[in-house]
Amino acid sequence: MLSFLQAPRQAVSSYFEGGITQDQIANLLKAIGLPVLGFLCFLLLWQFAANNIVTSLGNFPGPSEVTTQFQTLVAEHKEERANVAKKYERQKVRNEKKLAKNPDAKVKWRTYKSRTTFFDQILTSLWTVLCGFLVASFIAIPLGIIIGLSANIYSAINPIIQTLKPVSPLAWLPLVTMVVSAVYVSDNPSVSKSFLVSMITVSLCSLWPTLINTAVGVAAVPKDLVNVSQVLRLNWLTHVYKIVIPSAIPMIFTGLRLSIGIAWMVLIAAEMLAQNPGLGKFVWDEFQNGSSNSLGRIMVAILVIGFIGFLLDRIILLIQRVVSWDKSSVIR
């Protein structure tokens, strides 16, 4: 998204600095025009395909249907919030009246929960994926550094990593559910079990790319730099901090980007299967509803899932731009 925003920004700024040249106009057209053209073509194809697919719930949702459903979802969300606000307003009026009559009267202040809307589900999913991804990264990066530094530990652990890596999240899910139910017993739980199950499943599946890429990046620190470190007699911690981590940063971020993509995909699947709150549950519920609006609403969810996945990747990229010393490397 950024690269596609930056190109026109450059074109626009140079437009303001000097006069307009033919080249600049051509660049501007290219930078803005081509993505727009691609998008329009996509919409046309989509509409065409949608018109030709008929399901038991009506036509496959085209762009217009999806737009309508999106607006409905926004409206539902606003309505729900307004309802809750009204309830609080009424409670306030009611209680104030009571207190005016008799200052010693006991009044109840209730909290009202709104029904979970589409946007609540998005937030739940985002929060879960963030926690799962952070947990995975906090395990994978240090472990990757240790594995990468020692060829012996690498040989010992590599077969385990390679075996666990390709396991589908759906296979982990039953186990994680049972273990969380058994271990996480609390009368007053601070987080819900479903959140923990989703989060742990996400972590289990998304830590591998970061782990492997960190280990490979660390193992690939140039021999010359290791020699420099030895001649300087850097201690282990300084060696890791000054030589190993900066050298492995590009690989670590490659791993993190792969991991966040996997984390997001895994989360949606886990939410669908385990009926844990989130976007996955939204899709599943709509599928079970089977109303004439369902397909459109599912399509909205799919587009939102895709867009969020894209944003997450770009956020990691942004962090890499800030953190990495190698600004010249091509980051896509």
């Binding site: 020699n227 420099v228 030895q230 001649v231 300087l232 007699r233 000054k242």
Partner: protein, 279 residues
Amino acid sequence: MSFLEISQASIEFPTPKGPFKALDNVNLHIKQGEFVSLIGHSGCGKSTVLNIIAGLYQATEGGVILEGKEVNEPGPERAVVFQNHSLLPWLSAYQNVELAVKQVFKKTKTKQEMKDWIEHNLELVHMEHAMHKRPDEISGGMKQRVGIARALAMQPKVLLMDEPFGALDALTRAHLQDSVMEIQEKLGNTIIMITHDVDEAVLLSDRIVMMTNGPAATIGEILTIDLERPRDRLALADDKQYNDYRTEVLRFLYEKQRKVEPISNAQKKSNIDKKSQVA
């Protein structure tokens, strides 16, 4: 007892076909303040000798004694200038030297003293103008200058240089050779340099150590270069003595230690002989 002593050093590397003896019985005594070059064909184990002195390799037999102490690990008192500069690409020239200075002088120098010392060493190699540039922003010759500054800043007892100018173009190389001569004149460092450039060896060294071909390479001959310092490359170009030294090294390399690859195919062998004559 000499300042630096390499005594009966041999080294074997394990290979799948059994141990490979790279060096055999290397003996060398070096005086303080001496400039010694190691010259030989590629693959003859020059770098291995340097790595043993640096402590990066351990000799299988024999070893190295510096000021009466055995060398068995790398350390800043034997600073190395690596062939391809080996600067940390994420640090500026200043920060690269700083890493070394902080490590060596963290207990003995104050912050200000360290700063002055870093700047002093960068000035010594004429890099004060690009102190805060990163390695990818400066030329190959400048990177190697920073590499030398980093090594000098450790105030080493011995400065080890592993083909320090090998990757540079001829003009830059000449320039850096002059810099090194100038610095050694000023500081009186003990320097061991590896090279395969005959002119460089004769111009810079007090003694040239010529290595035989491997496997089991050892010291073939040692040539003492008795030319007055400071040396001027232009004046020396026509100097008879200089050219005699040069010829002597060339004769060692191309007559006594001509590199003949053991290839069974007679056809190939004659081709290689032709090539080595050309070289």
